[in-house]
């Protein structure tokens, strides 16, 4: 790597500082890309760097900012220390942030020890609103277990099976026939496998949901971590996609990232507008037979007509639309809020979602998967 390489490493470092993640491979490729561009064409050089260093739409913005700053600094910066150039390129990635981890883990270890059965049982039926922070940590294990259970669907992949089915396994039959001098005496069969059905969680984090939103977000985090095709959104007055923030192995950090990403914690609610954005901006992410769960109490400050229209649309796109309202568990609850009244006719299943037990019920429903949706609405 030459001077150009070192300069590019600076650009890459700028991009990483802004959250993009170009690797050494991209760096090397960017250098060869520059070599094949006419040196006088600055604009083309920029585009060449952009296409080699970015790997998603989100990276583009990081690149534009990083490039602007990087181009300003120019080549007159002090000469870098005598390090192996490759090392220089790699170093920012392996650097360990200092003093990031709080002193919490010690205490956490003591908390997350499996609880006695009675404790767990009590926790299962306790309303989320009455949880202490210690109980929230205990519940994490239960949530993770529930999150692994979710909707399934038949995949187009097949696997060999002992039982007779309607799909002949030609490969297996041929191999078996070789044992009988090419006489296909035993037939082998294949059957379709089951895969995960996509799951979409839409969380209401407005003021009225505050007692529940923390635990429901924890549930969403567990789902995103445990499942392959799971999308999570949060809304108050506007919709935020939080799937990327929630992904990752460390739940505490994931929740922290998600909370930062959401701008309107505990503000008002415009469910109709939020669902409208979900339908329009993310329509294709929720299509293809997903189970969609809206977790909200239905307190809405928007126009109920808008809400009804958007819920109807969501219900038509989804395989199954579930609405979880924590208030439903209250004795004598009637769905009387304007939002709830507008939404209910278009919802396939209406459930509580105020405790571990109710989330288990949700998991049961999704796993059973035998419900024939839409019949009621037609």
């Amino acid at each position: 790597m030459s001077n150009v390489g070192l300069r590019l490493a600076e650009l890459v470092a700028e991009m990483r500082a802004l959250g993009a993640r170009p690797g050494t491979g991209e760096l090397v490729r960017a250098e060869s890309a520059l070599a094949s561009i006419e040196p006088s064409r600055r604009d083309q050089a920029r585009l060449a760097l952009r296409t080699t260093l970015c790997s998603s739409r989100a990276d583009l913005e990081a690149f534009d900012h990083a490039f602007a700053r990087w181009a300003l600094v120019g080549a007159d910066s002090p000469s870098p220390p005598e390090l192996d150039p490759i090392m220089t390129a790699v170093l920012p990635r392996v650097a360990i942030p200092a003093g990031e981890r709080p002193a919490a883990p010690l205490e956490l270890d003591a908390d997350v020890r499996p609880a006695p059965w009675a404790d767990t049982e009590m926790l299962r039926h306790k309303d989320f609103a009455e949880y202490s922070s210690q109980e929230r940590k205990l519940a994490q294990l239960l949530l993770e277990r529930i999150a692994r259970r979710g909707p399934r669907r038949m995949s187009r992949r097949t696997t060999s099976t002992q039982r007779r089915s309607h799909r002949l396994d030609s490969r297996g039959t041929l191999r078996a026939s070789l044992r009988h001098a090419g006489e296909p005496m035993e037939r082998r069969w294949r059957q379709r496998t089951e895969g995960q059905r996509p799951l979409v969680l839409v969380l209401d984090i407005s003021g009225s949901m505050e007692p529940y939103s923390r635990m429901l977000l924890q549930y969403a985090q567990a789902c995103v971590a445990a499942r392959r095709r799971c999308e999570a959104f949060a809304f108050g007055t506007r919709l935020t996609r939080i799937t990327t923030e929630l992904a990752g192995r460390d739940p505490d950090r994931a929740l922290e990232r998600a909370s930062t990403a959401v701008a309107d914690w505990s503000a008002g609610t415009r469910i109709g507008a939020a669902l409208s954005e979900l339908n329009r901006e993310h329509g294709r992410r929720i299509g293809r037979g997903a189970v969609v769960c809206v977790l909200s109490d239905g307190w809405d400050r928007g126009d109920p007509e808008d809400l009804a229209r958007e819920v109807a649309r969501l219900g038509r796109c989804a395989r199954h639309l579930v609405w979880l309202n924590p208030l439903k568990a209250t004795p004598g609850f009637e769905p009387l809020t304007r939002g709830m009244v507008a939404a209910l006719p278009h919802v396939d299943t209406f459930m509580a979602g105020n405790s571990i037990a109710s989330l288990e019920e949700l998991a049961n429903l999704m796993e059973a998967g035998t419900t024939t949706p839409k019949a009621r609405r037609r």
Partner: protein, 281 residues
Amino acid sequence: MSETEFSDPAAVQKALANARYLADEPLSVAVFLALDLETPLLLEGEPGVGKTETAKALAEITGARLIRLQCHEGIDAHSALYDWDYPKQLLAVRASESSQPSPDLFSREYLLRRPLLEALEHDGPVVLLIDEIDRADDEFEAFLLELLSDFQVTIPELGTIEASRRPIVVLTSNRTRELHDALKRRCLYQWIDYPSATREAEIVRARLPGVAEEIAQRVCTAVARLRASELYKAPGVGESIAWAQALGALGDGNLDRALGAALKVREDIDRVRETGVLEGV
């Protein structure tokens, strides 16, 4: 590499334009680099912005054969790469009596080539289009890694097959899900946006030489308005072309009568008619 070498992005842009594909500068730079560095090109964008068309035009300007692999849920090696011709194998086993040496059942004679293998083994230049990769599952993405980085594939019974000449690979994604980093790292990335109204009118005229300039202009102004209003499904460039074509066929220039060519969701059509988005176009 293909026989046609391009000296710079402008040359690529010009050649694409001759193939009636109007690429903007970022895209022509990306295409130029994909050709020059022999790196796969990953195109993302809303449906109908011309991702698949890019690959077709690319095949045209390089004189390459276009081999297309349409991805779907559950696509696997046997539908993408190779399969064995089992009936033929069975017959071969039966035909050779036990006294004779048994035929080698897993040789090329019994191999069925699917698009990927076809692309690797084809003699001439090839553009391999892996369309809508986001529809396939993660397992298939992982399976593609060997192909995209080394242009080779491994068939257990035969060994590793290397490309005789590197195909130009174009992947497209509609972003229904985020692709794996490992896959993206092997590709150049290009996001294709909707074109501006004037540019789109040029595209419509390039695609439909018979259409009046006035119609192309009006359709593209209307489409720009539709994209700016709140719709479930905004029309793509493909829809603009279809709309202009429909207007040409109707002959009366009534945008509303052929609205079905641009909008495919009933609520969207109702909304557009109610709010009068298209008035005065």
